[in-house]
């Protein structure tokens, strides 16, 4: 694909002295109208962009993809065999393969503690939250009769010997 008509031009700048009310950031977006060949501002001031960007306050108000590892853990039913559990895991593989934000996933099962675990490497936290919303939790509840517990970790450096690559967020 190549560019067709211009839609918008946006600017973000940090100056803590000029924009003290918005953590130093100023945001501006101008929507382009092809028919009249003019730009119209989106909102009236820098606070409009700040309102949206507060959801990523932890990333200094900039939408930045930081890879994260998500661990989803729950208790398996006592009467479910290992084979049954693995078959249920296996059935979900194609759906996870279709998620472009999932880098890899490991399906884990511990026979002694009867714990099932999913370890995910995501391109960003938003994708993880989206994939594991109420619909996912309902599915785990109906298939395994358990409520999963979620843990999140930043994954700034990941090495993969099979793919022969190191993904370093600071590189």
């Amino acid at each position: 694909m190549v560019p067709d008509t211009l839609k918008s031009v946006s600017f973000i700048e940090k100056d803590t002295k000029r924009f003290p009310d918005t953590s130093g950031w100023a945001y501006a977006q101008f929507l382009y109208d092809t028919a009249s060949d003019t730009f119209a501002p989106m909102g009236n001031d820098a606070k409009c962009g700040y309102a949206c960007h507060t959801t990523v306050a932890a990333k200094d108000y900039i939408f930045t993809a930081i890879m994260i590892t998500e661990i989803v853990l729950w208790k398996m039913p006592d009467d479910m065999s290992r084979k049954e559990i693995l078959n249920k895991f296996r059935a979900t593989v194609p759906a996870w393969q279709g998620n472009p934000n999932l880098v890899h996933k490991a399906f884990l099962f511990d026979e002694n503690s009867r714990r099932g675990v999913g370890v995910y490497l995501w391109k960003n936290i938003e994708a993880a939250k989206q994939a594991h919303g109420p619909a996912f939790q309902d599915r785990i509840k109906s298939v395994f009769g358990a409520s999963p517990e979620f843990q999140y970790f930043d994954a700034p450096i990941v090495l993969d010997n099979t793919a022969k690559q190191v993904i370093d967020s600071a590189a």
């Binding site: 067709d4 211009l6 918008s8 600017f11 900039i62």
Partner: protein
């Protein structure tokens, strides 16, 4: 279709691991985003 460009202050911050390392971008950090509608290039098989 979007192009997102950042100035050297912003890029240097990213290379140092900001914001993943919990630190903040420095004053003078700038980003520009340009957005177009997309169309297929009928000439090139690549695009």
């Amino acid at each position: 279709m979007k192009v997102i460009a950042a100035n050297p202050a912003m890029m240097d911050a990213y290379r140092k691991g900001i914001p993943g390392n919990g630190k903040h971008f420095p004053d003078g950090s700038k980003i520009v985003k340009i957005e177009w509608t997309a169309k297929k290039n009928t000439e090139s098989p690549y695009l």
